[in-house]
């Protein structure tokens, strides 16, 4: 039924889009592929606004290569197959030069074949499970080794956790991340009986049984921690239930990879205080760039209460990098820009610089923050240096020997260092 609704909604929006198509002459077209309706609208609308803000800012500076930037916004409506269609629309019909978009991995996987077929360019701004490196995609969110692995290290070394609950929403990102984490924990000597894995559907709201299981699992006398890849709005009832059943962050800390400032802004954060999140950016980090960005965002959106979050920073970095690369090569041609992007450096909002590596992933610092009562995070730990995003995890047997390098002579997203062969299967 939901599916039908989505189709109806999206076709209405699509038809209104067609009506809007007054093509201005000689502009650079920037496609925005974020869901503006459906379950993911909560998170993705913000990123659409971020891209529009960046475009406005760039145009105020005189655009790029003497041309104005023109946004083309489409709504894939949280409907995964529709992402492929909308990508095709953007590339074939609108002939956009670059696309910023996608949130869930399944939407990216759906758009990927079209991107490769029509040689498009996508900037993907959300943390994801890795195990992918396409020539046509730049991943500005965190790979598992830039978020999940450091978080587990923190829990293990600083909190002293020895028993682990891996809880996630049932789709590709949590499943792959948990597979990597399980392999990593076992490599660190954690026994099978000390790991509990649990999956729930999207939008799960009845957490009482699962939280009670976690409570039982955590009462075995060993320090227990929950690593949560629960996505979207299912988090809020989850934390509520934790609070109601009397599990505090001191007893069983929960570290989340999908809970940021934006998600917390719709919620009474009292029961969450002390729980953790691992990201590459927090709004609370004090730096000049960050303050400027936050002020610009609040002004653009016209609401003083709006917050910034990690995927927004990833969008910001991606956009800046693309603009820099376009200026460097003097064209928006995808192949030229793709090569020029490798090695581009842009300041992080949290200080330091982000560098685009040859595997299309960024080097970024990793931060771990504790949730505060005002819905912001207090940084309790950070990596001393930036971490290079690893496209293929070293902890999975199937991808142990794989690397990605899009520079000559390798020019391959899936290169086996043992056999020195490129399989060409990039995802």
């Amino acid at each position: 039924m939901k599916f039908k609704k989505l189709i109806v909604a999206s076709s209405i929006i699509a038809s209104s889009m067609v009506a809007q198509m007054a093509i201005a002459a000689d502009t650079i077209k920037v496609g925005v592929l974020h869901s503006l309706s459906g379950t993911m609208a909560i998170s993705e609308t913000t990123l659409k606004d971020t891209v529009l803000m960046m475009i406005e800012e760039q145009n105020a500076k005189g655009g790029l290569l003497g041309k104005k930037l023109e946004p083309v916004v489409v709504d894939p409506a949280s409907n995964w197959p529709l992402f492929a269609e909308k990508t095709r629309e953007l590339l074939a019909k609108e002939k956009v030069d670059v696309i910023f978009g996608c949130w869930t991995s399944v939407s990216r996987k759906s758009a990927l074949p079209v991107l490769e077929e029509l040689n498009g360019l996508l900037f993907y701004p959300v943390q994801y499970e890795g195990e992918e490196s396409s020539k046509n995609v730049f991943y500005t969110g965190a790979a598992p080794n830039q978020q999940a692995i450091p978080a587990v290290d923190y829990l293990m070394n600083d909190i002293g956790a020895t028993r682990w609950v891996l809880a996630g929403t049932d789709y590709v990102y949590p499943r792959t991340t948990n597979k990597i984490l399980e392999a990593y924990l076992k490599a660190k000597g954690v026994k099978d009986e000390d790991i509990m894995i649990n999956y729930t559907p999207f939008g799960h709201s009845d957490w009482q049984g699962i939280v009670s299981d976690i409570k039982k699992f955590g009462s075995a006398g060993k320090k227990t921690a929950v690593v949560s890849t629960v996505n979207g709005d299912a988090n809020i009832p989850f934390y509520k239930e934790l609070g109601n059943q009397g599990i505090s962050a001191e007893d069983i800390p929960v570290v989340a990879f999908s809970v940021g400032e934006e998600e917390l802004s719709g919620f009474d954060t009292k029961p969450l205080v002390g729980h953790l999140a691992a990201w590459n950016y927090f709004q609370s980090v004090e730096s000049d760039e960050n303050e400027e960005f936050i002020a610009a965002w609040k002004k653009y959106i016209g609401d003083d209460k709006r917050v910034t979050n990690d995927p927004m920073e990833a969008t910001y970095i991606g956009f800046k990098m693309w603009a820099k690369a376009v200026e460097k090569v003097g064209t928006t041609d995808v192949d030229a820009v793709e090569q020029a992007l490798i090695g581009v450096a842009v300041p992080n909002l949290t200080g330091g610089t982000a560098v685009m590596n040859a595997n299309h992933h960024l080097s970024k610092p990793v931060l771990i923050g504790e949730i505060q009562e005002d819905g912001q995070f207090e940084v309790v730990w950070e990596t001393s240096d930036t971490v290079i995003g690893d496209a293929w995890s070293n902890f999975l047997p199937s991808s142990k020997n794989l690397i990605s390098d899009w520079t000559a002579p390798v020019s391959c997203g899936n290169f086996d260092v043992k056999t020195a062969k490129c399989s060409g299967q990039n995802f």
């Binding site: 503006l36 809020i236 009832p237 109601n244 009474d268």
Partner: protein
């Protein structure tokens, strides 16, 4: 003579002794007084010393400071620790004085000085900076405070303190508990103290003591007891030769078995509770539909949106009266009933009555209405989820024993949904309007012939069903996210419950909701929640194949 002498000697000695005692007591008094004095200055000196370090200390440097604070016996140090625990410890950017800062209603901070007697004052956020804590620090503070709380006059505070200490008792805490045990009058506190001491004996005592400890502990459900027993069992050799060890091993195994079977029993009870609570949520969501779909036969796809409107009503109520969060639900319930009910009546009057007897068109029209309502909410309130606060009395749980507790919100919801159910049942059975509704649903023509205004009854019935959905929305706002998609999540479940229970039968809806909830919760631990949902759906499909009219089909001529 000798005797007299001896007597005199004794009196003399007594006098001397008395004198000595008097002298001594005077000395002791002055001395303790002096000591008190030095203590006072010592502690305040140490306090101000630590207070100076607090603003600049890094998180890694904090634990020793907290330890020092805990060692100082001064109410001020306790106040500092409590403020730190609550996240209310700040320091002034100018002067570095540490203060407890609490935000008031105008987003300003009220400062109370912790070390000096300076007056309270209200400042803006920029004047002060928070002293940071993290989980480890909070845990440490709780341990420190727990030791102090052991002598608290309130027995519930003492119990909390003991619970904090039970997992990691340190020697000084054990010592304190030993001293306090004899004077402890409260039975529960006394029992918990015994448990802690026995657990300690189990760890450190000899075999004889261990055996005695096992005997006492085997009735306790505290997780710490089970863990210690398991630990001790692992320490014992596989095949003990020593007679005492054989006995001990058997005792421990038996105790673990007893504890395990008790835990399993409470596990089942807990699952029943979870099942009932999920069932009562389903019941609330579905019962409005049971009226509109079951009694009137209208397939109302906008039913979920009526629930959503109820949830948003709660949000608006809390927005208008931010001071009345505790009572917001009581205000929201009648309001939500009115809001959703009147929207329902408008829909019925404007759309549905023109589509009578055309189920497919009704379905499409109400589906369209649901999209309109969703978009309306998106435009008015934003597509983001809205924050609905839970009143104090809805949070927390009723601890029945260490392995079994009932969360208050679920408990109240079960009670509330049953109340709604029986209220509706009485309405249909006893009131004249209820009689009219039943009459119209059974035979419209006949009812009209008896001068019942069937149009009017239709509108009221639809309004009632929608209003109940609004009330369900108030309840759901306490459990899940309040967003434009809230209704979609419950519409399918609601239809399932109504169809499973048998269309047109309120009791069927009750039984269906409770059994679907319970089946789901009993499957969940075995299969995981994703598979549990699928199994329930497949089971339902098969059931409907076998009995298309549900659990309790309507009988008689009015059935078709």
């Amino acid at each position: 003579m000798l005797r007299i002498n001896a007597l005199r000697m004794i009196t003399m000695r007594l006098i001397v002794l008395r004198l000595a005692i008097v002298l001594l007591s005077v000395f002791v008094c002055t001395h303790t007084y002096a000591q008190d004095n030095t203590n006072q200055t010592d502690s305040s000196l140490a306090l101000s010393n630590i207070a100076k370090q607090l603003p600049k200390a890094k998180l890694s440097k904090m634990p020793p400071l907290v330890k020092q604070l805990g060692a100082i016996k001064d109410p001020k140090s306790r106040l500092i620790l409590e403020s730190l625990l609550e996240g209310e410890l700040y320091y002034e950017r100018s002067g570095f004085a540490i203060v407890r800062a609490q935000m008031n209603d105008d987003k300003k901070y009220v400062l109370s000085y912790l070390l000096t007697d300076a007056q309270q004052q209200t400042v803006s956020k920029s004047k002060i900076k928070k002293i940071r804590t993290n989980n480890r620090l909070r845990g440490q503070i709780r341990d420190v405070l727990a030791k102090l709380d052991l002598t608290d006059p309130d027995s519930s505070v003492r119990i909390e303190a003991l619970k904090q200490l039970i997992d990691k008792p340190n020697d000084s805490a054990i010592q304190t508990i030993k001293e306090l045990l004899a004077e402890e009058k409260d039975e529960d506190v006394n029992h918990l103290m015994q448990v802690i001491l026995q657990v300690q004996l189990l760890k450190t005592g000899d075999d004889q003591q261990k055996l005695a400890a096992v005997e006492i502990l085997k009735t306790s459900l505290e997780p710490a007891v089970k863990n210690m027993l398991t630990q001790q069992l692992a320490v014992l050799p596989k095949k003990p030769t020593d007679q005492q060890q054989i006995v001990l091993k058997k005792a421990i195994t038996d105790a673990l078995d007893t504890i395990e079977s008790k835990r399993q029993f409470y596990g089942v009870v807990e699952n029943i509770f979870f099942g009932l609570s999920l069932g009562s949520v389903l019941l609330l969501a579905a019962i409005g539909l049971a009226i509109t779909f079951g009694v009137m036969g209208v397939i109302n796809m906008a039913h979920g949106e009526m629930i959503m409107l109820g949830a948003y009503t709660t949000y608006v109520v809390q927005l208008i009266w931010p001071h009345l969060i505790e009572y917001s639900l009581f205000i929201a319930i009648p309001l939500a009933f009115l809001v959703s009910g009147s929207v329902g009546i408008i829909i019925e009057r404007c759309v549905i009555r023109f589509l009578k007897g055309r189920p497919l068109e009704t379905l499409l029209a109400t589906f369209g209405i649901s999209l309109i309502l969703q978009q309306l909410v998106r435009t008015v309130f934003s597509p983001l989820n809205r924050q609905v606060a839970a009143p104090e009395w809805m949070s927390g749980s009723l601890q029945i024993n260490p392995v079994f507790s009932l969360t208050y919100n679920r408990l109240y919801i079960i009670i509330f949904s049953l109340m709604v159910f029986f209220a509706l049942l009485t309405f249909f059975k006893k009131s004249s309007l209820g009689l009219h509704v039943r009459a119209v649903s059974q035979n419209r023509e006949m009812a009209r012939a008896l001068s019942i205004k069937s149009d009017w009854v239709d509108a009221i019935t639809f309004g009632l069903g929608s209003g109940i959905a609004g009330v369900a929305g108030v309840v759901l706002s306490q459990l899940t996210n309040v967003g434009p998609n809230l209704g979609q999540a419950y519409i399918i479940d609601s239809f399932l419950v109504v169809v499973f229970g048998g269309v047109g039968n309120l009791w069927g809806t009750l039984v269906a909701a409770m059994s679907l909830g319970s089946i789901n919760k009993f499957l969940e631990p075995i299969t995981g929640s994703v598979l549990a949902n699928i199994i329930v759906l497949v089971g339902l499909v098969l059931f409907i194949q076998k009995r298309p009219k549900g659990l309790f089909p309507q009988k008689g001529r009015s059935a078709d």
